[in-house]
Symmetry: D2
Subunit: 347 residues, 4 copies
Amino acid sequence: MKKINVAVLGATGSVGQKFIELLADHPWFEIAEVAASERSAGKKYKDAVNWIMQSSLSDRIGNMVVKPCDTSLDSKICFSALDASVAGEIESDLAKAGYYVISNARNHRFDEDVPLMIPEVNYEHLDLVKTQKSKGFIITNPNCSTIGMVMALKPLNDKFGIEAVNVVTMQAISGAGYPGISSMDILENVVPFIGGEEAKMESEPLKILGKLENGGITNTHFKISAQCNRVPVIDGHTECVQVKFKNKPSKDDILKAFNEFTSEVQRLKLPSAPAKPIYYFAEDKFPQPKIHRNLDKGMAVSVGRLRKDNLFDYKFVVLSHNTVRGAAGGTILIAELLKEKGYFGNI
Amino acid sequence: MKKINVAVLGATGSVGQKFIELLADHPWFEIAEVAASERSAGKKYKDAVNWIMQSSLSDRIGNMVVKPCDTSLDSKICFSALDASVAGEIESDLAKAGYYVISNARNHRFDEDVPLMIPEVNYEHLDLVKTQKSKGFIITNPNCSTIGMVMALKPLNDKFGIEAVNVVTMQAISGAGYPGISSMDILENVVPFIGGEEAKMESEPLKILGKLENGGITNTHFKISAQCNRVPVIDGHTECVQVKFKNKPSKDDILKAFNEFTSEVQRLKLPSAPAKPIYYFAEDKFPQPKIHRNLDKGMAVSVGRLRKDNLFDYKFVVLSHNTVRGAAGGTILIAELLKEKGYFGNI
Amino acid sequence: MKKINVAVLGATGSVGQKFIELLADHPWFEIAEVAASERSAGKKYKDAVNWIMQSSLSDRIGNMVVKPCDTSLDSKICFSALDASVAGEIESDLAKAGYYVISNARNHRFDEDVPLMIPEVNYEHLDLVKTQKSKGFIITNPNCSTIGMVMALKPLNDKFGIEAVNVVTMQAISGAGYPGISSMDILENVVPFIGGEEAKMESEPLKILGKLENGGITNTHFKISAQCNRVPVIDGHTECVQVKFKNKPSKDDILKAFNEFTSEVQRLKLPSAPAKPIYYFAEDKFPQPKIHRNLDKGMAVSVGRLRKDNLFDYKFVVLSHNTVRGAAGGTILIAELLKEKGYFGNI
Amino acid sequence: MKKINVAVLGATGSVGQKFIELLADHPWFEIAEVAASERSAGKKYKDAVNWIMQSSLSDRIGNMVVKPCDTSLDSKICFSALDASVAGEIESDLAKAGYYVISNARNHRFDEDVPLMIPEVNYEHLDLVKTQKSKGFIITNPNCSTIGMVMALKPLNDKFGIEAVNVVTMQAISGAGYPGISSMDILENVVPFIGGEEAKMESEPLKILGKLENGGITNTHFKISAQCNRVPVIDGHTECVQVKFKNKPSKDDILKAFNEFTSEVQRLKLPSAPAKPIYYFAEDKFPQPKIHRNLDKGMAVSVGRLRKDNLFDYKFVVLSHNTVRGAAGGTILIAELLKEKGYFGNI
């Protein structure tokens, strides 16, 4: 099978670099173009980027000339790691011109005709793209802190009906990009604030867990409260989650729901799909970011410490890799699903 | 004024060392004896201890011969930093023999006749010691993670009546003592479990905020849920707190309650009392352990991020120094209050 | 090819765990037995170990019953991760009884008939085992901080003749085992002392770079000074090295020596051999432990910052993974070489 | 005594903030003006600064209007924390106009008529200012990593004559200012490069230890080699130093030299002078940045691990607080000395 050419937009930033790292040996997609801001366009990628990934930058990518983020791109499939300050317009323009944009930016997440997609959770929302009035389309990946939590909530909501969710996060520094957070601010410290993060966690799950009906998404409705903290961890968001259910499950019911959870992307054995979406760990001290973030190449979600709660019904801890599952990896998985389901036409 | 001789029990451990550090220049108390386990007894303190404080160990203390923790001690006032594995019996024996034991250990916290004391919160519980059937008495300091939270809750409970409290903590490594947590476990990591900690936070506040009546404490009753995490911070516990009230306050009502909160120990200007029990910071990014833990010599509690909550009424962040306010410093403040109120008799 | 059964001695410690992790999918060797102290013997491995590796412990190994470290072991090839307090005698006894012991312990490193082996550096020392008066033999792996440095020195010594070496290390916490260093001691700190480490670095290179002649090793002789520090890094020792040469090379001569360096284990393409022993990085800020420690599965050495020196001739920075290249991985590479060269007889 | 008005130039940066923190309760100087770049000038200081000190910003300073760094300043004594990109010209202009500029910037350090001053080491160089052809003068503070080392070398050079110095540093992140180093670059990592730092350490000591004669400084001459690393420590530079002497001392000779070392600023009991310039610690594991950086309010230098060396004569470890002793505190001490010695005229 010939590989499909793809472009990475915002290729010099930390999420862009992660796209390039994860796509390095992808069985289906091949990076044919890297695009970035005008400041970088025209330079060799290796000269434009401050490469911060652990793996080495390949000569093939390093020597690519950075292109502008516009319709001069040849690749019809674009992974967008653009900054929110510019992503909105660029992504719209590309979609109008027939490009398929799978985006990690927040700008179009709440557009009525744009799916907010976690493949394991709401892949049936894909059809929403058919309502887009563009030759191409835009699909968005949720916020990194939303993804882990919603993957853990999905099987519980399906079986027991969620009434309320409370979450407190301890988020890794890589979530802030590069250079991101000053070492003076976070070494041996906690910062109890991440701009805009709590609002995202309180709104995105309701669309993701909503229903596609009558050509649009009907949000689900339960209350969410989120508190977001930054901690001195490199990768991996840890989240303390409490849930209230409509139909009261036993602890074993919940463990069964976690363990049996699987989805279309597992059945299709998509290249980036984790073997299991959720791994439950019985040891009290687990999950931990340093130990579990790379499970199934960083695409699985780790859960532990399930126990009864005095105020809600149950509480537990969720851990997921914020730049893989929560950003570049999750976005690539969406593209794999689109490909497999024929959304890319005869590319 | 001649200083009062005191002994430190469990003097070689990290809390014991903190007692010695904080009492170094105390205007009222003078360390006359250091006591520890049989393994250390008989040695010079400087040879028995692995001194880990930042300040230097004085020659006077360093050259003291470590005594056993028994009634051979001359000082009638004992600060106990004993390990829970031995504190129960030793403290009881000393109290029976007429010693005044102010303890940081958990063993006697829920004895019916033992006050669980935060001077700013429940100093009227002191009289409970009169019900103890010993020549001396035992008074206990709550758990480090409880103290900061309850100090912040006290003015709110007084004015608006608390119905429920939810708390998620991010606790410093010094709370585990020395050597405590392996660096292999916590560097660049989060451990979402601290043995026994959640149960303490869910029970201690109800006694502390209870009422002394008919010679005993009638606990208050509201529901608490606690989730406790260890993070790579040296000192200072950060806590995300959510509260539901009986009488719904405005945000300004709460800020006023925080800012106006004061207590007997402030009025008495006790040596270790913070100028204000609570400092509220309006900046979104505050409070932070690295910046605020040493406020008023580590005895004040810092609060920030007060905002409406979707599930409870309000949420906010509390920060306090776990080994000062939450351990040795808080215990010394109890002793100062006891002295000032005449509980030590004519020592 | 049927895999060869091997045993891991000291299997519950952190180096033992690293052996188990690295041998999990080894193409030649299969862990048939795990052995440890009497305290663990008889238990299932999963119950005896506090597993701290990032990868999961397999059920196959987890359910093995831990054996004692004695001649009841069936596997003739033993990887020793024993603590130095017991390794000396156990390893001798096993060798006498016909076992082939490849050891990471320091005890036998300076025995006259025991090779101190870095396969890329002194594989011709293997024959020294023929002088051992045992049915089996012992081969030792050098200290973790020695290995990276000596690999970088080897091509320089061969071509230019070394006269003096000065080294200052910044070593990772994993080098101290588990629990090893208290987080209270190393978080946001440097400890300028590692017991015994400097003496190892000042003596081991002279034997490793020595010559096998007349049935023994004639040490090389140049002066070495080592200063060893512990820093808050999880894995990867960084070393600032200065060298004085007999035959003065140009900077390009040295770069060429680094880049062209290869050895028998590369020619044999042994499973654990790095593609190249040394990678030189031209960027000023490289090498760094977080970025380069996993190069070639942690078996390559990274070098950078080569520049003229005011006191010696040149200085540069060396980085290597201390628990892979510097311990378990290096030891496995020795075993692969032994196998390939026929030292295991007809096992 | 009425306090002397001073201005802080570059007041919004991290060194500027440290000046403000250290001068908060200074017995002789009072901050009358804060000055910064045009971007900040005209704003209230509290609105222009991102205050990152642990102590609170006082209302008095916070409400000051930031002034431009020019001759509109009323205070004749200026502490300069200016960035090197602008310090050169601004400081020259101010000196010409009659201001006394005590600078932490590197620009004028090697001007022939500008003292490079560590009060304990070369206070007799003060007279060099008389050769400046300005109404005022400029005096400079050396680089942070130079200061600790040279203070430790001074008594040794005086008594035994230094022939060569080798140093490898492990430097704190605060040395890079704010935001300075990205947390992504330094958390759980070492960066073996600090731009320009090695050249400073190899040149500054020769001027500082030089002799004022014939109206100029005659540099001392011995060879220095420096290698500079950044480590995840907040404050405090740790340095591994090796020294070769002309007159070979015993270990006791050196310890005596360290312990007896004192200087004019100690004799004068200047407010910022440490009680002793050097504290020697006999424990192998000392000095450590987390434990010793604040000794004598951060103004003392800690030394330990003195031992014979295979290549030089002796090696030892030096630790000093880089933003106090190595920057703002050292600069203030210079000003105190100038005041006491009458260099400020009748201000």
